[in-house]
Amino acid sequence: MTTAHTSAGASTDETEVAVASSGLGPDAGPRTAPARTLWSRVTPLLEQYGLLILFLLMFFIFASFWDRPATFRSGANLRSVLGTYSVPGVLALAAIVPLVCGQFDLTVGSVAGLTALSTAAALTRFEYSLAVAVVLAVAIGLAVGLLNGYLVAYVGVNAFITTLGMASVIAGLITLYTNGDTIIIGDRTLGALGADNFLGIPMILYALAVVAIVVYYLLGHTPFGRYLHSIGSNPTAARLVGLDVRRLVMLSFVLSAVISAIAGVLLVARNGNANPQVGGQILTLPALAAAFLGATAIRPGRFNVVGTLLAVFFVAFALSGLNLNDVSQWITDFFTGAALVAAVALSTVIGRRRAGAS
């Protein structure tokens, strides 16, 4: 059996060599050919690692000379950026799950806002234990995810409309409950998770890492992930290879909402309070931006975990550097949007080149 495998592999390699040499043989003609080949080798790498290179370049500039390098590269600043952007990171990971199967979830930020509030309320107003508060948050995520998923997958409502409407409904419920007041928490465990470090690294970053590993595993190493990718690629073909497309699409919304619910708990931990003003679009848009930006890197054309994290922290450190240089507040929205559009445009151009060569 093993021998058969090896020989099959070997003969494929031979074919590959044969194909390659027929294109580059002595009669390959025009002298532009080698240059093109070089370019064609560089392009995929550039595409794959473009964002990483940009990230390192940006980091180098801020950390070495522009304008307060010492502050930028100080441990306090690095920890602060990593900690602050862990929650948006978790939300971006929540967003990519439905995106992989071709669906939008615009409620990620709203769910986080809602569960931040539910957690804070459970702990302070009702004095439940932290465990109960977390279970409650996850239950809320489950409920919203099931509702979103049912409407999109089984009723057939467009996901954009469903989740946009749902986000507005949640915003209304939040205002109804809080009347706009912030709920401050005093839970020590949660406070520690939000503010303390472990081995010099913010605790909350470990939480992000756990979520990232789980999502990475689910999307890349389980049949579930492969199924979601197949549905995103061609739902009809997915059905005809035996997939229960509707159930899987619904599950993707459930997963996204549950991860968002966890992000809500982390948000309370980080901020020490639940502010009804923080949530909804303010959190959703950067999460989606990071997801799309991340889809241009590492595995170009696919929403992927590593690319998404890279995107989150690329934006995070860029904004930190700019803020340290007294570039005023408007830069946050401006830069996030500009980076997204520029990156997607660039990857579209490179992608078109590649398609042209096929």
């Binding site: 099959a8 590959e16 390959a28 080949t37 890349g220 199924y227 197949s230 229960d244």
Partner: protein
Amino acid sequence: MAQLHGDAQGSAPALRVTSLSKTFPGTRALDDVSLEVQPGHIHALLGGNGSGKSTLIKVLAGVYHGDPGGEITVGTASAHSDKTSPQWARQAGLHFVHQNPGVFPTMTVAENMAIGRGFETTGIGSIKWRALKRRTAELLERFQIQATPDMPVGLLRPADRTMVAIARALQDQEGGHDGVLVLDEPTASLPASEVDVLLTALRRYAAAGQTIIFVTHRLDEVIAISDRVSVLRDGRHVATIDTEGKNEMDLVELIVGRALDRVFPEMPPVESEEAALEVRGLVAGPLRGVDFTLRKGEVLGIAGLLGSGRTELLKALFGAYPLAAGQVLLDGQPVRFKGVEQAMDAGIAYIPEDRAAEAAFLDMSLRENVSASQVRHYWRGLRHRHGAEGVDARRSITDYMVKAHSDQQPFGTLSGGNQQKVVLARWLRRRPKLLLLDEPTQGVDVNARAEIYGAVRRAVEEGTSVIVVTSDFEELSRVADRVIVLAHGRVVAQVAAPHIEPHRLTELAFASAGDTTRKVAAS
């Protein structure tokens, strides 16, 4: 149409391509191609998948630039091969109509005509409807299309839709002899009766002096209407010959570069009398009570026109189309599938007609495509075994003779024939008891067709029973042990080998369709 020129018009070619090459990273799609097309000719362009004919068309259309050094001349306009553009092609008089004619079905003929060239408007920006309709009526007259300017294009016959697209492409030409019309697989999606309508129209346009380049896989059409044939193979121009006196086998030899004794392998004889599948009174969609039995190891062909319910029959057997009534027995056991997964578990495989829409995951890798029907197979010890999946994928590439440089290659970059082989491998890997093939060789070249049926034959030898639906009755007559003819939702005739002849099947399919219509009308 007043000043017409026939074939006799001098020797200046309508189109001349000189030393055209096109290099892609790793491959040479076109290698020093030179050819001429005479004015007023229907010039067929033939070649297998990957022969470079699509690339040639794309260079002509200005979508790709050729390598420097070649030249393209259309009438009196000339351009270096690396300097062409869509604008240049249009100005030079090259007009393209693709397989999907790109008409808007819900819009009227007049609107479709105007959409390519812009609407004429009055001073205040509203459309000059009356002028547009008059112009459209003239065009319909000139191209002899049976339609009125106000008809939605979706209501036209499929062939007329293509002719509307042709008229739209040629509308601004002064005389009938100007420019070159390039038709890329115009008949691929037309039913047989419609093909004749279109071919007749093309012959008429050519007789009026229109130069036409005709790309197709259907060799009978080439023999029927073309004046000359150019054949490409592996990016090289192999030959340009007069069509007169040539038959399909001559063309096949040029295309594949060797004599193909048998494009279709002989299927092993059916030895078993045991039924693999029995269908009793099946009602689903257009099907109104279908009965037939498939024996173990048999290849059963289904002949039927578009709309006869042939696709629905296969989908219903595969659990992908709701059954209204009837009984299906698989190996003697009654089955009723709630979904595709159950049918797959019972050992059924289905290869759909429309590969791009129903089988392909174009942006995913070849590897992911070939294992799409058995992802769970690689789920061991709580993780997906990417390594084992890759090994199996590479083995399938060799076994099914897929031309690919790696199993990680995006599926969309494979040629049609190679994509189809991958889809076939996806299902044959599961060693199905029952294989349902819906138009398995549509848009697939002769070589790949032979390889596809070779693989089916191997499956049959291992005990798979096959139902194959195809509009190519020639193909049915070669591969099927028995053919049932489906018309208006019923089995109306049955022919067993060796009496399966293409023209007989055509007669049966059309005659039965007519019969039923008459019966329905009478009742």
